[in-house]
Symmetry: C2
Subunit: 329 residues, 2 copies
Amino acid sequence: MHRILCVLLLGATGPGLAADQLPSWNDSPTKAAVLDFVRNVTADGTEGFVPASERIAVFDNDGTLWSENPLPFQVAYVFDMTRTLAARDPEVAANAMVQAANAGNVKKLLEGKHHDGLMQIMSLTHAGMSTEEFDDSVRHWIESARHPRFGERYDRLTYQPMQELLDYLRANGFKTYIVSGGGADFMRVWSERVYGIPPEQVIGSYGRTEFKLTDNGPVLTKALDHIFVDDKEGKPVAIHQFIGRRPIACFGNSDGDQAMMEYTTINNPHPSIGVIVHHTDADREYAYDEKPKSSGKLFTALKDAPKRGWQIIDMKRDWKTVFPSTSQH
Amino acid sequence: MHRILCVLLLGATGPGLAADQLPSWNDSPTKAAVLDFVRNVTADGTEGFVPASERIAVFDNDGTLWSENPLPFQVAYVFDMTRTLAARDPEVAANAMVQAANAGNVKKLLEGKHHDGLMQIMSLTHAGMSTEEFDDSVRHWIESARHPRFGERYDRLTYQPMQELLDYLRANGFKTYIVSGGGADFMRVWSERVYGIPPEQVIGSYGRTEFKLTDNGPVLTKALDHIFVDDKEGKPVAIHQFIGRRPIACFGNSDGDQAMMEYTTINNPHPSIGVIVHHTDADREYAYDEKPKSSGKLFTALKDAPKRGWQIIDMKRDWKTVFPSTSQH
């Protein structure tokens, strides 16, 4: 009787009690596990309850919140920018690594122990400018560039079911973070608009900037010193550095997310959940795991999933729609 | 008429309209400037309005939120720990730098280009243990150690007027951050309890940890690699790295805070404020600026303050009380 009254009174405003909060998800064990977990940690007075301040959820970005094919989107940005710079400056155009980039020859860029080619390209496109100049460049690119297969803006190729999950977790008091191998500065330009995740909750790879007070005011110049790569073991390291406490929910899609999945779920004093997006849908998106054409290798994390109790999102089975409905495919 | 009605209806719940939100502050130009600034940026529909998501306020810690004399409190922790370790282990006790630390000989510790002595002491007290072990050690110390002059727990020597300011800013939609030269891991142990500032809003100096999955679960081990010193030009660099947008309010007390004060207030597209705590009260706390006995040198920032429009808190003039009333002096 009491419970029915609660349901009636709270109605559509009580998270979890309302109609389906994850409408783009088919009913599946994975969806049920996520809903159970959230119900459990938000049930005040029970053993599994976690105070809101400790409800930290971390999400990989490429392949977890948006697509990463045919190339991670930031690499598409780098190649587009390299082409633009080469068209503007003959000296840049004559650079062998720029030519490799313009030919899409990723293999050549990655040659050598220190990936000298890639570093040259990164230094052209990600350093030597102010943080504002870089932001403007990314903003302009994301408005104008289109995905080669879907013909859409890249920021419209986020996963609708994951967008719903972000909203659902936040409605239940979670703080949602991106923890991605992508560049922090690159993602922060659009993360708040696209995911509702503010810049201060975006953790990514970064180089240290340099501060100068100039006649035109303070300037932070992007550099490639002290580069931190936010991937694999770097992810829990970055989580400690930026957040300072263990997450209780982790969402990823590749072996690069395995360490943060372990950090989240193994021996956590709180209840916790780890979820892997498995790309199984070549028709609507892409299908890959241990031998991806681009990034996103998923082998050891998938192998360990049963032992660790990690949930698998089978994209083909679990998602009613993949992209937001504004996208036309 | 309409305005009076609003005041009546909002009463004590409307921030800024209620009774004095900063009761430990005497009326002064500085208090008025802070109140004006907050009224200005929260007045929806006016030119000075700043959306809540961009109301970032950054606070130095040592000398701004709590005392830094006779030594920065984290240095007191280091010296106490060195003594404990030396009592436990004859080999540690025989170390010349440990002996210098135990004699309070800071000068010897800072000798040489790389401050080898200090690094040895830091490596004994801040590295080689798990993040949990370090947290436990800091927690135990802060419960047991007492300040040599005031006889109080160190975490009771925060400034009551600044505590009120933190609350006041948060009640007006600000996100409050610490940006301190102190160690992030050291401050995060108690920042939420003491200041209401959660770990993820504490930015400080740090070394990179190392992640390992052991038989007992995931472990992050503290190391002294890739040390980042969050002071001077490092502060705006860290603000960009951790927050990713410019603050609109900055509170500091030394030349080490000048760069972040400049970053906050010069050519900021939003209204902004910079405030310097000037230690002028030897009776109730300490009096120092350009020649401090410990840390907290304040010379160039004070000199530039009029030109930059930075506000000065004259501790003796502006604060009714210095420490929370639970402290008995």
